[in-house]
Symmetry: D2
Subunit: 332 residues, 4 copies
């Protein structure tokens, strides 16, 4: 028993014990998380950093969005962040843009059932027969892809000729989504790409080929001179990284969006000053999706002095908490 009870390092910052009650606000809950350990402490730190990233205009915010975030119901949160000026560049997947457009033109995803790997595969075979695609516990009737194909053919492709950047394509898609949306609240319901187009926020999609959106683009390229330039967007993203004063990264999920956001600093004199990631991938996979933000520091993607936090867990639970908590801080 050699401990020195007076050593400040081990005695100055006690874990307190969270209290919860009926009627408490999300802001209060986040404050309570700050008193606790393990992941709760990480979530509190992430809110603290994200609020600092969003306060004022000083920080240029890069957002990476991977995973089935639109099918899972996170579309409006991202749309609102864009509309409120909290996103300066968005890197996402072709899948999220596909599902965002399907909702913009009136389609819907539906609550369904998840099936385990070893489970009754008959269930997925039955869905196949009935023309329903499954995304974990979300269903999407396949006829929506037909409507999406018509939307691209009628509203998006006519605007585009020759070799264009992917961002030019996502911008045209966003404007078309807004144009055809028929809800009462077009501004909110037209979705992510529409909000980005309306607010001059570039949407980058470096692996666009890997999606139904990419397959449709390829089919269109087979019968016209249209194609997509894989490299052109890097100029815009790198310029933004170069010209900004302070840089922040919000990374939801891993994959290409995560690294594409982080690597944008490699060809600038800057590194990220702030970074928050929400992921379900632990670091021991050795993959980029689960890699720690400290590892990114060794590459020079993050400043040595950067504030950063990683929250391990389902982003459909943690993203709403993070955003509600940070908005609450801004409002205080």
């Amino acid at each position: 028993m050699t401990g020195d009870p007076d050593r400040e390092e081990f005695t100055h910052d006690p874990v307190e014990h969270m209290q919860v009650r009926a009627g408490m606000s999300v802001g209060e809950l986040i404050d309570e998380y700050g008193t606790a350990g393990i992941g709760a402490a990480d979530l509190h730190e992430a809110v603290d950093i994200y609020a600092e990233m969003l306060a004022g205009d000083e920080v240029t915010n890069f957002v990476g969005l991977a995973g089935a975030m639109v099918p899972a119901g996170m579309r409006r949160i991202v749309t609102d962040l864009i509309r409120e000026g909290h996103v300066d560049a968005l890197v996402t997947t072709g899948a999220n843009l596909t599902h965002d457009a399907i909702e913009a033109i009136g389609g819907h995803h539906h609550h369904g059932r998840a099936e385990g790997e070893g489970s009754l595969r008959e269930h997925d075979e039955q869905l196949r027969d009935e023309g329903v695609d499954r995304i974990y516990n979300v269903y999407l009737p396949q006829e929506h892809f037909t409507a999406f194909e018509h939307h691209l053919r009628d509203e998006v492709f006519p605007e585009l000729t020759g070799s264009v950047s992917i961002q030019t394509f996502t911008d045209a898609l966003g404007r078309a989504n807004a144009r055809v949306n028929e809800t009462n609240d077009i501004e909110a319901e037209a979705g992510i790409a529409a909000a980005a187009a309306a607010n001059d926020v570039p949407v980058y999609c470096p692996s666009i080929q890997d999606s139904v959106l990419g397959l449709q683009a390829w089919m269109h390229s087979q019968v016209t001179d249209f194609t997509l330039d894989a490299l052109a967007d890097m100029t815009g993203l790198n310029d933004l990284a170069h010209e900004s004063d302070r840089q922040g990264a919000l990374v939801v999920g891993g994959g290409v969006p995560k690294n594409f956001v982080l690597q944008s600093m490699l060809v600038t004199p800057h590194s990220y000053d702030y970074a928050v990631q929400l992921t379900m991938d632990p670091e021991h996979t050795g993959g980029l999706s689960g890699a720690t933000l400290d590892e990114a520091r060794s590459w020079g993607k993050l400043e040595k002095a950067a504030r950063n936090a990683t929250v391990l867990g389902d982003a459909t639970i943690t993203l709403p908490l993070l955003v509600a908590g940070a908005l609450d801080r801004l409002d205080r």
Copy 2:
């Protein structure tokens, strides 16, 4: 494209998109989770079920509490649930009872740093030299174990002679914790075992040997006739299961507490009518900690008609959400 757009199964329950805002309440956030998919939907369902479990006096609530929940700052949430009458039996670990008692007698855990498996082991060696135990990102100076030893010797063991049930021991511990607590808010700060003792809630600890509390009990048994009966508690737990009308299980973490709660139905004519589990273990480990509640149905631990939900994620994040959300429902 063979889908029938009119098939109700695939069109009646659209995924809506969560909205968050500054100042929203946790209750509102939980409602929003209910519109989304993947884990958010599971969390919403869990709140719905837990609120039904807590409403009225009809359901007898069994709680399993594993993991480092006390060092991580969840002590007050469990204490308050007990004080509000929401726990009829608690199954937990010797570690949680040890750390609960350390806080009751004035000790504190402290925010520290986590170290990765492959990381600078020098850091843990240094902690060793300085007499500080690490629990992920929480530190505990070892001298608190000396104080705990004195507490047991002076306040708890004198009450116990011969072979007693483990629950008798935890009850004596709880009363001693309350007796010596010197805070202004003894009722709240004396902690889990104290609240349970004050409210006649039995605390079961089937693997008590596997903890510092168990080591101390063993050392005391070496010099007196004191010992603990491993089987005696099963009578009380099984009687409670037998005599209750409707049964609900809240399982936080896996391990022994999870199965000990679930198996209590195997020797009764009942099975659980409700079950909610918060776990970080996925089912594909094949272990009991990650096993689905459907699997428990095959064993007859859950009623075929039981409502159940599993939320995969860090319980330091999800337990406060679950409890705050359920209390909010009760209050509406």
Copy 3:
């Protein structure tokens, strides 16, 4: 680009690239793992350490065995390790002892199907109706539990009266399992408890109540003076820890067996000199099951100089690799 290409730390130990071929031995495969990174490197290190633990008689080997290792087909590997003198004390779960005995008396587990959490719960309901218990993708017809009950009543309980240690009970179980086994290869097929009893290896089961074995023991205690002493076994385990010269821990899965093995050093002047753990729990859960062995160093459970390795992955894949690889080393 500030790197110093001559810095030895970064240039002396190149990752080579694994080669595999038809007909290669497991020993050769393990050697190849040693050239690679991420988890392969950890597995190679684990084999290296485990081989050193098994070589000669110098190291006293404590084995913790959690998880559904018997239903999953790992029973013979553990049995053979015991028979070959590679286990000095075994800490396991009541479930593993229950399923070990079921196989000893002629029962079998069967390959079945896993079901996802959100999956067709009708499948588990059907299993319930048909009297089949599911353990992930393994099935066990419930009538085997009736046979097990008879076995305990006829062969085990008659040997035991009054309050006995849990190890006394597992020893009687092991001898009974050997006695009734009717296979041609009784020594191998009678299983883990039988091999332990035959080789004077103590089997500890600190959470025995948490199993069908524990439920049966409790039912027997209701009608006789039989009961189990929860603390008695700690004397034997701690004495073994105290008296041994060098200590090694093999920890398969986490849970109570892991910590009970590790904490046995807390009341001795020793700490483990070697430790290998196979687990699916990452450290960020904050729980003991996923806690790193470095964390155990802060508590004094491991020597500061101890060699240790953690392999993250399914123990049904990694345990056979580890054991085959270590035996191969001993044989070279």
Copy 4:
């Protein structure tokens, strides 16, 4: 106890118990896995399917390779599969191609240390100062990127003008890697891209921008008319899918390579007849990386009758086992 012991479904396929011994072959180990449950059973099934995919010339094999497989030492296994005619199309990441080229031109990765998320970030800061990039537990001195830049400038870019397909670029890279390699065993050491180029195996890299290789391509595009066409490769991949008789997918890791392989069937009348995936992502993330192959069935990416297996675990451990096991089967 309602089980019918004669029901064949529950009694015909007993779990046997694995045996391991010194000197056993990997082929024998795989056979043993087949007797066990949980993940061992999945690995055995995967070997069985993969051996069937590789036997004869009937099956066209698409391989997706994500994750840090080259830094982790899996480069030679993939190279050899290509050279032996077991790969008909490879989809991988820019990172794997970057690191493959670095080794081809004489660079090496080195065994280093992993650091936990919450760990001493000073360590990564120090690596930054010393010019060393970290990939989990693998180090790469940054000067290798300078050599890689020169390699592209001197050997690869001069061959390419105007807008070319990504596959044209990876082919030129592979030929250049072979040309400059100075080892005694050029054919093996020149690596993945070189082996693919020499064997007319197309290498697709749909998210090439997301890598140092992509950054270099972009920088070259800034000063010449060179650029990469994002869509052109889909023609070749989809034609291969269209023209083949039977299709098999081996998916290592998730990410873009996984889905790009799987979605190639969406614009053909075919679906995969065989699929094996090695992943660390569980399905409950809701993301594509962890999505089950049954889910892919609902989309029509897999045939309803397709044989498929998923092995959850570290691919640096499971890929060598899978390939060695399958090659052994072919050799029997």
